[in-house]
Symmetry: C2
Subunit: 129 residues, 2 copies
């Protein structure tokens, strides 16, 4: 699964990756499915889920830990924060970064080993205002 040596670059996987790199939205698995289906009508939703998981594991895409019921995926793997619409769930990028030592700082307050962080804003998108 996470061993790139044994991973096959199937047509399905290729197209999922391409479509995700094309957009700046942060599609849910089902939205990726709809996008990919235009180019490959026979692909199954299960395959989309499996590949999103694999591609995220390899670091080619990002699985977003945002609120809401559905997971969202991002073709942009750079560290950046997001804002989610309270009303429609849409997610947009927000180019605000925390100082890089925030995790070191956080480690002082917990007995957990700190691995990373997410900053998410909640708001109302232009469409919903």
């Amino acid at each position: 699964m996470s061993d790139a040596n044994r991973m096959r670059m199937t047509k399905q996987r290729q197209i999922i990756l391409e479509e995700l790199k094309k957009v700046t939205s942060h599609p849910t698995a089902d939205e990726v499915y709809q996008m990919v289906r235009r180019r490959m009508p026979k692909i199954s939703l299960g395959t989309v889920y499996r590949n999103l998981e694999i591609l995220a594991g390899l670091g080619h895409i990002q699985k977003l830990s945002v609120g809401g019921t559905q997971k969202r995926f991002d073709g942009d793997i750079s560290l950046h924060s997001h804002i989610r619409c309270r009303d429609c769930g849409r997610v947009a990028d927000l180019n605000l970064k925390l100082e890089s030592h925030i995790e070191t700082e956080a480690a002082r307050f917990t007995d957990f080993v700190v691995l990373g962080h997410h900053l998410e804003f909640i708001g109302i998108c232009p469409e919903c205002q």
Copy 2:
């Protein structure tokens, strides 16, 4: 729903609130159900879900927007960040707060109306290390 005047303080609702205020963990709906069941064995899971939603709407408890598949609830309604265990999903408080200007700052970078933010750390809890 959100009109406190019309809300009845049923025994179920009372106990759910009490149990949640008792603990510093951040239980899932099912964990709350298990806690409440000790005092009220006939309560239904549906009632727990309905009341958690209502209590959160009234601001008596907090619904956490953390990653993971299950929603979690917090009897502590103060603004604070959390750290979630990558391996077991456990959530703990982390007394690290961002400067209060962060939302005003964020508003400059987006066309969303900014309403709030969540800061979540990911790590490995003592049990899982």
